[in-house]
Symmetry: C2
Subunit: 452 residues, 2 copies
C-alpha cells in the first residue's frame, strides 16, 4: 500500500465539505476563480506564474489506497464516501491567464469549472502552487527592471521555504527574466541555466587564498569566477592580477570575480581599477549579499561597475512582500451566479473575462473586467487550457514562456515599470458585472437580508 | 535510471568545490557550524527546529545514476570525480541543540564533523531544512505566548511557499505549542491533530445558509463548527441558535462557530451574547483572517470572547520576518581552526559549546559561548546526535518534543516571553574563544594581512 500522499496535501475542511456534498448529491457544475485582492505595498503589477504545475496537479489528482485507509482510520467520514474517492479524478475545464502575463487585482488568474467536489477539493494546493510562483515571478520582474542589462542569478535555495520553494523559485525567477539559478536540480528539472562560483569555505580550507584560487581555476577551467572577499577584497583582486598570467600560460582564463560583503559599489570600483590596471579589463565583477531592488537601483544610479548579481533570500522568500492577498472563490453553482459578501471581502460574481486594451504606442492602456460572455474590444486574457481533465495544448517550453514574459513586461506603461509609486493601472468593471452583482444580492435571500 | 533527484537539490558551487577538493585530495576532517547572525527586529529568542529532517537528509544523502548522468552530460566535471560520487555517503558526526530549545545569535544550532567534501556538500539543503523550521517554530512560539490558553491551529497551507513549506510549517508550529493544523497530510506524516470546519463556498453552494449549516452538521456530526460570516455574522449566529435544538433532537451537538471577517473582537462579543441568550453558552467561538501576534495580544487585552484562532499566512510565511540571517561556516579543517573575516561577517573560529546557566528560580540566566573542550558551569546545549553517519538515538516522538518545548519556553526570562522590546539575553564569549580568534588571525597569513 502506498503511504498517504499528495491528495491529502489539502485542508481538512475540503474533505469535510466533500462529505457534505456527497451526502446531499451536490455534484453539479461549480465555477471557482482565483484572484488577488490587492497588490503588496509599492508593487505596481503582478506576473502570472505556476500554471504548468497547477495543470500537472489537476491531471494527477487521485486518492491512493493509503490515502483512503487513513481517511477510514480517522473515523470522520462515511465508508461510502471514502469508497467514492477511489474513482475521483479531475474531469473539469480550466481557463487561465498565460504564464508571464502582467495582471492586476480582481482579475481571475485561473477559472476552474468542474463538478463541485472536484473544484472544491483542488482549492488548497492550487492556491499553494499558483500563489508562490506568481509571488516570486512578480518579485523577480521587479529585480530585473531594477538592473537593466545585468546578469541576474537566483542564489536563494538555502533560505527558500523548503525544497519545493527553492526549486520553483528558480523556475519563476527564470520565467520573469533572471538569467539562471545556482540550484542544480533546476537544470535537469526545468532546463534552467545553472551558475556557480565558490564559497568562503573553499578559501578557508586552503592554507592561503592564492592556493585556493589556483586550485579552483584548475578544477573549473572553463568557469573561473573567484570569490575575493574572504579576507580583504582589494588584496584578493591583486592576487587575481598576479595569478591570471600564470593561468593564461596553462590555457585557463579568469572570467570573473565575486564580492559578497562590505560596500559592494565601493569595492567594485576599487576592484575594477585594480583589474583594469592589471590588464584584466575583460574580467567581470559579480556581487552578492542580501540584495534587493533598492540596492540594484542604487548601483544603477551610481553606475557601479558591477556586471551581475546573485540574489538570494530576498528573491526566494520575497522578503519585502512574502505573500499575496489572494483567494479562490465560488462564482457560480448549478448555473446560478454566487457571491461572497463577508465584510471587506466581497467578490464579483459569475464567470469573468479580462479584456486588455493597447495604445497606439503598443503599450497596455487599461483592462476591463467583464462577464465571460460579454463582447468587448481588446485582447481577452483568459484562454481555455484544459477540458475534460486534459490539457488542450502541450506544455510550452520554459524558454518560450520566458521570452514572451519579457515582451509582455515591456508593454507595461513606463510608470508601472519604474518601481516607484505610481497611479494604479486602470481596471474597469463592466456595467453588466455591476448589474449581476446587484442581481445576486437581490435574489440570494441571506445576502439580501445582510444588506438591510 | 532514476531521474535526477535530491542530491542535486544543492547549489552548483558545492559541486564545483567538491571537484576542486577531489583534484587536490582534500578529504580531511572539516568542522562546519550553523548559526544565526542576528535576531529579526523585535524578536527576543529563537526556537531550534528541523533536526529530525536534517538527520534524515544526511543519512539518505547519495548520488543516483540519474544524478551522475546529468553531471556527466553537463561537461563541467571530470569522469573520475563523478565516479567517486557513486560511493559518497555521509559518514560524519553531528552535534546539535535539541529541537524545541530556545537559542540565540552566534550559538551553533548544529555542528557537522565529516570529511570536507561531505560536510561541504550538505550545506545548501541543511540550511534549507533547519532555517525554515526554526523560523516557523520561533514565529509560532511568539503566537502561542500571545494567546495563552487559546486553541491555536495552523491554517496556512495555501499560502505557504510550496508543498514542503506547508507540511513542515505544520510540524514546526505544533512543536512550538500550536494545537494542530488544517493540513491533512500532517496527520499521517507526523501524527499532528487536524482541525477543519467549512469554507464560504459550502454556504454559497447551498441556496440558503440554514440549509448549508444543517447539511454540514449531518455530514460531520461529531465536529460541528459552523462558519457564520458569509453574509451577516450576527444573523448567522441567530441561525445557529435556531438550528441547535433541531440538531440536538437528532443527537448532534454544535461545538463552535467560526468568524473570518470584519472586526473579530466586536463580532465575537455580539455573537457570544446571541449564543448565550440562545442557551448555547458551551458553543465556542473560533476566529481567523490574516491574524498575527499583535492581533492576538490585542484580543487578550480586550478579553475578547474568542476561544481559538486559525493562523494562516502570517504563520507559515513568517510574514513579519520571512527569513533568519543564518550561515553554515567552516570552523576547522585538518585540525586547524578557521575563521572568515569578511566585513561585517566575521565568525568565531573552532568547535564551540553553549553552556546555559539557570537562576535560583529555575529560569534561564545567561549563556556562555566557549570552545567545545572548555569546562564551564551550566548545561551544555550541543549534544551528539550522529556518529559515523548513524543516528545515536531513535527519533523522538513529536509529542514528547512538543512537551519539552513548552517546558523550555517557560524557562525563558519573563521579559523575553513578553513580545515587546527587551534587553538582549546575555550570551558571553569565553576568554579562550577570544584568544583563539586572535590566534587564528595572527597565523592565517592572508587574514593577518587583512588586519594591517
Amino acid at each position: 500500500m502506498t503511504p498517504p500522499g499528495d491528495a491529502l496535501l489539502t485542508d481538512l475542511y475540503q474533505l469535510t465539505m466533500l462529505q457534505g456534498y456527497f451526502d446531499r448529491g451536490m455534484e453539479e457544475e461549480a465555477v471557482f476563480e482565483l484572484f488577488v485582492r490587492k497588490l503588496p505595498a509599492g508593487w505596481n503589477f503582478l506576473v502570472a506564474a505556476g500554471l504548468e504545475q497547477a495543470l500537472d496537479f489537476l491531471a494527477g489528482l487521485r486518492f491512493s489506497d493509503g490515502d483512503r485507509k487513513w481517511l477510514r482510520d480517522s473515523g470522520r467520514f462515511s465508508p461510502r464516501f471514502i469508497e467514492s474517492l477511489a474513482e475521483l479524478r479531475f474531469t473539469g475545464a480550466v481557463e487561465a491567464i498565460a504564464e508571464g502575463t502582467p495582471f492586476f487585482p480582481d482579475e481571475p488568474l485561473i477559472r476552474v469549472i468542474a463538478p463541485l467536489p472536484q473544484a472544491q477539493l483542488a482549492e488548497s494546493r492550487l492556491i499553494n502552487i499558483l500563489h508562490f510562483q506568481t509571488l516570486i515571478a512578480s518579485k523577480a520582474a521587479r529585480l530585473v527592471l531594477a538592473a537593466p542589462g545585468k546578469l541576474l542569478v537566483d542564489f536563494g535555495l538555502r533560505r527558500a521555504h523548503g525544497a519545493e520553494a527553492g526549486l520553483l523559485a528558480a523556475r519563476a525567477s527564470y520565467l520573469a527574466g533572471f538569467d539562471g539559478t545556482a540550484t542544480v536540480l533546476a537544470a535537469p528539472r526545468f532546463g534552467i541555466p545553472v551558475f556557480g562560483t565558490m564559497a568562503h569555505s573553499f578559501v578557508q580550507a586552503h592554507d592561503d587564498e592564492m592556493a585556493a584560487f589556483e586550485a579552483f581555476a584548475r578544477a573549473q577551467p572553463a568557469h573561473v569566477v573567484l570569490l575575493i572577499d574572504t579576507y580583504d577584497t582589494e588584496a584578493g583582486a591583486e592576487k587575481v592580477v598576479e595569478l591570471a598570467p600564470r593561468l593564461r600560460a596553462q590555457g585557463i582564463k579568469v572570467k570573473g570575480v565575486r564580492i559578497d560583503s562590505g560596500d559592494l559599489a565601493d569595492h567594485a570600483r576599487r576592484v575594477r581599477d585594480i583589474l583594469d590596471r592589471g590588464g584584466l579589463s575583460s574580467v567581470t565583477i559579480f556581487a552578492s549579499g542580501n540584495l534587493d531592488e533598492g540596492d540594484l537601483l542604487r548601483f544603477a544610479s551610481e553606475a557601479a561597475p558591477i556586471d551581475g548579481f546573485g540574489i538570494g533570500t530576498r528573491l526566494t522568500t520575497s522578503a519585502s512582500a512574502p505573500y499575496l492577498d489572494c483567494a479562490y472563490k465560488l462564482q457560480e453553482y448549478a448555473g446560478r451566479p454566487r457571491r461572497k459578501r463577508s465584510e471587506g471581502k466581497a467578490t464579483w460574481p459569475g464567470r469573468k473575462q479580462v479584456y486588455r486594451a493597447f495604445g497606439t504606442d503598443g503599450c497596455m492602456a487599461g483592462d476591463r473586467l467583464t462577464l465571460a460572455d460579454e463582447c468587448c474590444d481588446g485582447e481577452p486574457l483568459l484562454q481555455p487550457v484544459m477540458r475534460g481533465g486534459r490539457r488542450l495544448q502541450p506544455s510550452p517550453r520554459l524558454d518560450d514562456l520566458r521570452r514572451r514574459t519579457g515582451q509582455q513586461i515591456a508593454l507595461l506603461p513606463e510608470l508601472l515599470r519604474q518601481l516607484g509609486p505610481a497611479a494604479p493601472y486602470r481596471v474597469e468593471i463592466s456595467l453588466s458585472l455591476h448589474a449581476l452583482a446587484a442581481e445576486v444580492d437581490r435574489t440570494t435571500a441571506d445576502a439580501a437580508a445582510a444588506r438591510r
